[in-house]
């Protein structure tokens, strides 16, 4: 059963056709890579998947349910979580609060529960704290729980963003260049963690990445975009040895 099904997705920015006839199916527990040269439209695809841009045509389906026209937060609550190319954390909040913001929809209590500090507030806050610490432990970030998010080193901030995305309880996780700015050791560690996340949470992951080592290492399937069109798709070895893919990256 596929988690995500995209058919004939396309978007126009004025006269520019940024993405054209994009098709993709992601099955449960699959790790899919989306690669392509700069400006190919990879992040635009992400933005359409999460409702930031409204696609001009095509349909988006999550678990068999069409979700075109839903707003970003509704899509997030349906089960698509994402990270950003340039880290977007809540910088002045604590690490713990960053994670707890994303649990907003899972643990619900009303304003009245909060303002009168009814038992429900304490019960759910406690559950939230426990769950948040559990998630932070995946990246061994739990010791930083009460420090400001902006005080974390760069690599840890990237990881915190993934934790925050996981906290929304997603079926599909979109990672936009998770390894950007990381050194080879950190990248290696990240690869293992991404695999671990996939196995432990049984979620599908779609990631944009320029680091081919990472893509080769963990992706089961890749799709190559160039000038908004799909250039090639399939398993890693065949796609990366495809002539047109090589020429798109390196020139003729």
């Amino acid at each position: 059963m596929n988690v995500l099904k995209i058919s004939n997705l396309g978007i126009n920015f004025g006269g520019l056709r940024a993405v054209d006839n994009f098709n993709l199916e992601i099955n449960e527990g699959e790790l899919v890579g989306l690669i392509g040269p700069n400006g190919a439209g990879k992040t635009t695809v992400f933005n359409m998947l999460t409702g930031v841009y409204a696609p001009t045509d095509g349909t988006l389906q999550l678990g068999g349910v069409k979700y075109n026209g839903k707003t970003t937060y509704q899509i997030a609550n349906m089960g698509i979580a994402r990270t950003f190319q340039n880290i977007r954390l809540f910088k002045n909040c604590t690490v713990l609060d960053n994670v707890k913001v994303a649990m907003h929809d899972t643990y619900r209590y009303s304003v009245i529960d909060a303002v009168f500090r009814l038992p429900k507030y304490y019960r759910l806050e406690k559950q939230m704290n426990e769950k948040a610490i559990e998630l932070l432990k995946i990246f061994s970030l739990e010791d930083y729980a009460e420090s400001k998010a902006s005080s974390l080193p760069y690599g840890k901030q990237r990881e915190l963003e993934i934790v925050r995305a996981l906290a929304t309880n997603p079926k599909l996780l979109l990672l936009d260049e998770p390894a950007a700015g990381m050194n080879p050791n950190e990248t290696k560690e990240l690869m293992n963690t991404i695999k671990k996340v996939r196995d432990e949470f049984k979620i599908a992951i779609l990631l944009i990445e320029h680091d081919m080592k990472l893509v080769k290492g963990i992706c089961e399937k890749i799709t190559v975009l160039n000038y908004g069109c799909v250039l090639a798709e399939g398993d890693v070895e065949t796609v990366l040895s495809n002539k047109s893919v090589i020429s798109a990256y390196l020139g003729d």
Binding site: A81, R88, V115
Partner: protein, 330 residues
Amino acid sequence: MKKFKLKKIDNKKKTFLYIFMIVVIYAIVMALTSAGIINRYYNGILITVCINLILVVSLNLTTGYLGQLTLGHAGFMAIGAYAAAYFSKTFMTIPQPFSFIIALLIGGVMAMIAGLIIGVPALRLKGDYLAIITLGFGEVIKTILLSMAIIGGAKGYIGIPRVTTFTSAYVFVIITIVFVCLLIKSRHGRAIISISEDEIASEASGINIVKYKIMAFAFAAFFAGIAGGIYAHYMGIIEPKTFGFNKSIEILVMVVLGGMGSINGAVIATIAITILPEMLRSLSQYRTLMYAVTLIGVMLYKYDPRVQVLMCKAKMFCAKINPFKRKEAK
């Protein structure tokens, strides 16, 4: 391995400390009043401080925590003031403490409704545009009030029962501060803060940002309305021009000086800025000049590294003598 331990959700000792402070401050004021040291003049200043505190703490919710610049807070105050006053004057027969409380609540609710009406379209705008539309809203309210003969128009609305006492104003200050503090430390508060930190990330984390913007806006308007009601019942006469642009800016200045998104800072800044002009009364014609210079000085040196170092040292000192220090886990 060291076992990781989180802070408690609500620190009981701190709560008791705050309750203790609330009681002590009230007791001191009451004692000084009965001793005759606080005369009617000082009492007036204290009530003004209370009214300003409600306004500033409520504006802090939208400007500080939500991060949206609004310039029409006095407009909500005006709606609250007139609605509460109108109720009090129409239903003079209801026995006093109840009438006053109902009047304030009506003022608050009316302001909240106005907040919703203006908030739904306005909060789709950002930054400067939101500031402009709220500024316009404040002026519109003022003009409407000026043209309504039934509530006195430009002559002012007179004959409102003067029932505000320090006690009633103080109670509402406490309610406002406690409400905002408790709201902020909940999932709703986290949602509001996350919007000011990063709207895009907040939405991608599943927060309905329109709902939370309107919620914060409506609560802020509600408390501004209550402040207006207290003001009306303190002065006994209200005129539209009091609730102009200057009043909005005055509240905003207090929020900004106190540090946006900080209740303690807002309280200190409000008390200082409300009392300062009164203290400087002896300087007669230089009074407003001094007031302006003080404001500019704070703005200039707030982020000065030397001042920051001093603040840091003060903070460390406070942490050292803090009786509620967390014990390190061994």
